[in-house]
Every structure is written in structure tokens, then in C-alpha cells.
């Protein structure tokens, strides 16, 4: 008898997808979630817009 923890998972066959969109869009891989450069610039621009110099 097996329980949910030990039940082997059947890995489906490779299913190709057609990639769309910006390949540099922000995503998390592993435990790291990088901030792409264009996002960092957007944050800087947003802060400059809000800064009542």
C-alpha cells in the first residue's frame, strides 16, 4: 500500500508549446525572482515622477 506521499508521479510525455510574448518578462526560477532591467528603470522613472523636486 502507498500513500499520497509515496505514490510515484507519472511524468507525461514532453508536450511542446509555441512560445509567445517577451522572453525577458519577469519570472521566478527556483527561489530567486530577478527584476529585469527594464522593470528597474520603470521603477526609477515612477519614483522620479512622484518626487516633487
Amino acid at each position: 500500500m502507498t500513500d499520497a506521499v509515496t505514490t510515484p508521479v507519472t511524468i507525461p510525455a514532453r508536450m511542446p508549446l509555441t512560445p509567445l510574448g517577451d522572453p525577458a518578462a519577469a519570472a521566478c526560477e527556483g527561489d530567486f525572482c530577478a527584476v529585469p532591467g527594464h522593470h528597474e528603470q520603470a521603477v526609477v522613472n515612477h519614483r522620479l515622477d512622484e518626487d516633487p523636486l
Partner: protein, 221 residues
């Protein structure tokens, strides 16, 4: 006959509960789908970014990332500040000072339980908000049961299914499916079982992909 142009476009989304880009990407996708205007059917799938994370990590997200990745605290702090700023741009008030870094497998099990009750989208949204905005713990069974009850699910049943790991195999099945698709990061959107869109794309990108699917369906009618 294949798809009618009026039938829903299925969007399968792989995502983790403690993934900042997943919540931001969710908002962007929702905006893109709203602009598209057609009927979209969404199903969330589990993806564990850090399955070895303890349920009760003793420290902040800054501590976690600096320890795990060996990054200087100042760099991690700046990175999280940038993510917080981007979240704010889509109306999300991230509060990293009160985030509880944890293991998300139980949260994923809860999402599957909610799906079985027809409440998956509500549960997903509640968990993301609980983690990033409300400073709630999303790794412990009792805390998760409270969140389930808040969207109207049976609290006692939530405790039971999480304790019994009723939906753990479904979580692992989602992860296996992600491997089959070659998914390495999240959020990841599989649209109409054909197109793969990775990351927190601009809303207009999602709109264009949905429009492309609709156009292709109409062409083969």
C-alpha cells in the same frame, strides 16, 4: 467541428503562492483578458519554487534570500523594494516587512481542494493576498484552514484534507505536467493548450495572444 469561436479559451496557469511575479502577472493577465473581452476559462496549477523551504523559516525574506543565494543584504533589500514598486504599479500593496517565508505545498493542496469545490480562483487570490499583502502565514494547516473559511469553504474539511494529504498527488501531478511542458519558471501561461507565455508579461501581450487564438479558431470554422 473543432472549437466554436464562442467557446471559452482555456488558460492553464502554473504559479506558486510566494512568487511575487505570479501575483503581478495575475493582475496583468486579468487586465489583458478583460481587454480581450471574450470568454476565458482559467485553471491554476501548482509549481513549487522552493520545495525544501521549512514551514517555519526563522527570519525575513531578506534573511532567506541573502542566506540561500549568498547575496548581500543591501542587494536583496533593493531587489524587494523594486518588486514592491512594480507591484504597486498594478495596484498590489506588497508588505515584505511582514511576509512569512514558508513551504507552499500545503497551500497548493488547499488550492486543489478549493478547485474540487468550484472555488479555486477565489482561493488562489486569497492566498496570494494573504502572503504578500496581509502578512498571513500560508504554510501551516490551521492558518490555511482559516483562509479557506474566509472564502466560505468548510474549515473542518480543509483541516481534514490537508492533514490527510488528500490532494498532494494532484500537486505533484501539476509539477510533473510542468516538467512535461518544459516549464522552468513561473508564472507560466499555457493558452489553448498550444501557446506558452512565460512571466509577468504586459497586459497587451496577453490580449494579443488571446486575440490570436480567437482569430485562428475563426479561420478553421
Amino acid at each position: 467541428m473543432t472549437h466554436a469561436s464562442t467557446s471559452p479559451i482555456k488558460v492553464d496557469i502554473w504559479s506558486d503562492v510566494q512568487c511575487p511575479w505570479c501575483y503581478i502577472g495575475k493582475r496583468k493577465f486579468e487586465a489583458g483578458a478583460a481587454a480581450f473581452g471574450g470568454v476565458v476559462e482559467i485553471e491554476y496549477h501548482s509549481f513549487e519554487l522552493a520545495p525544501d523551504t521549512p514551514v517555519d523559516f526563522d527570519g525575513s525574506p531578506v534573511d532567506y534570500l541573502s542566506q540561500r543565494k549568498g547575496m548581500p543584504v543591501e542587494q536583496v533589500t533593493l531587489m524587494l523594494a523594486n518588486v514592491t514598486g512594480i507591484a504597486a504599479s498594478v495596484g498590489l500593496d506588497y508588505d515584505y516587512d511582514h511576509v512569512h517565508q514558508t513551504n507552499t505545498v500545503k497551500a497548493h493542496e488547499l488550492i486543489h481542494y478549493a478547485k474540487s469545490e468550484g472555488r479555486q480562483l477565489e482561493m488562489k487570490e486569497r492566498l496570494l493576498k494573504a502572503y504578500f499583502v496581509d502578512g498571513r502565514h500560508v504554510g501551516r494547516i490551521e492558518d490555511l484552514a482559516d483562509l479557506a473559511a474566509e472564502i466560505g469553504l468548510d474549515r473542518a474539511e480543509a483541516v481534514r484534507v490537508l492533514t490527510d494529504e488528500t490532494y498532494l498527488a494532484d500537486v505533484k501531478g501539476d509539477v510533473a505536467q510542468a516538467v512535461a511542458y518544459g516549464i522552468q519558471g513561473v508564472p507560466f501561461f499555457v493558452i489553448d493548450g498550444t501557446y506558452g507565455v512565460s512571466g509577468a508579461q504586459d497586459a497587451t501581450t496577453f490580449t494579443k495572444v488571446l486575440e490570436q487564438v480567437r482569430t485562428e479558431r475563426e479561420a478553421i470554422k
